[in-house]
Symmetry: C2
Subunit: 231 residues, 2 copies
């Protein structure tokens, strides 16, 4: 009954940079579950587990396959109810979707604009053509054009985090005194940026930085065990 | 054991426009509690209930006084646990603070920039000097200067709601299938804008508009019973 979590990797198998995969890693750690992480390249995903999912993270647990980070968190919450809760009740589960919507509509696009060229540099040569083509189409610019705009995006990043900055003046985690899955949703985004980019946009004295460091400390510093370009 | 809710009014006692007071009204309705609303002018607050609070909403319940909309919601949740929950558990309570932080750091400042001159127009003459002075200091501009910038702020408003727009594609309320206090936090902001401003910035076909209409429908259309400049 080993749990397997398929995640995403760069050319270096230890470079597991995907924000969505980090959410799933932290959710499994939060539940106190043992699991084996198997990092894949983009081009490996379609030939894994019979092509069950086009994306990672993908979880295999005792014959069950689940993809999508939020669906994985919901699966873990339902399957392991006696382990620490990821949502803190139905209200927490519903409002975690708002945190996800905020992270993916405000934070993720900004990180893409900052770091898409640096992500491409980290990928396995086999993944690079797919990534370049799909991202250049999505962003309407070349990766090199995006890199040229990156400093302006870094300068604008700080203000996008204002809601989280205001929150962590009041409580140590989005989940309150202790973290919940909502924390891992936003942690995943900043961990992605930390791993792939040399351009870290937050000041050491920023409350968001202090919150992020608290997340990096969790579960015996799970988040610090990956090599990060931001140091 | 009558519950009294002190709210804010304009020159017209029926013009109860404060976003924070609307949160408290909706929280009381959600709990199914009878209450008497007593609208005050800004300059009445300090001489009400012995100057207990400098701000409204302020709740008096059987000798207890509570001010601040979130504190009122927490008081109601603890005092009336057998009534419908405002948070849906501890996780929902914690994450409602993130919704509050988002609303107050992203939505409220934008509404102030759109409508501060129109709010001033609605106030009782006794309140107007205090309001002008405090808002001009806070905003670093005259009310008339803010009014001149208002169309640009209206044009930028739509994009600020993107996280809520993404969410309501997935579920009818922030609270999930049914509303929670988190919905009233954001409803209060848009209800404020609807009441004070002729400049309604959202398209009829916008998913946020549909969500707002669902909120206006709640509790026998409580939110529609106030006169609104946006119609």
């Amino acid at each position: 009954m080993t749990i397997t979590l398929y995640t995403l990797r760069g050319a270096d198998p230890a470079c597991t940079f995907s924000p969505h995969c980090w959410k799933a890693v932290m959710a499994l750690k939060h539940k106190g579950l043992d699991f084996e992480e198997r990092p894949l390249r983009f081009t490996d995903i379609a030939r894994t587990e019979g092509g069950f999912s086009k994306t990672v993270p993908m979880l295999r647990d005792d014959g069950h396959l689940v993809s999508d980070s939020f669906a994985i968190a919901e699966y873990l919450e339902e399957t392991y109810p006696e382990h620490p809760s990821l949502f803190g009740g139905d209200g927490g589960r519903a409002l975690s979707r708002f945190v996800e919507a905020w992270s993916q509509s405000v934070i993720h696009p900004a990180i893409s604009r900052i770091a898409v060229h640096e992500i491409w540099e980290l990928l396995d040569p086999e993944d690079q053509p797919y990534f370049r083509e799909s991202r250049e189409t999505r962003l309407g610019n070349t990766l090199e054009g995006m890199a040229a705009n990156s400093p302006a995006e870094v300068a604008a990043f700080d203000a996008r985090l204002e809601p989280l900055r205001a929150l962590v003046k009041r409580q140590p985690f989005l989940g309150g005194e202790e973290p919940l899955f909502a924390d891992y949703i936003v942690f995943g985004a900043l961990q992605w940026l930390r791993i792939v980019s040399t351009r870290w946009p937050l000041a050491p004295e920023d409350g968001v930085t202090a919150w992020f460091e608290r997340c990096l400390d969790l579960f015996e510093e799970t988040g610090r065990k990956v090599r990060a370009r931001a140091g």
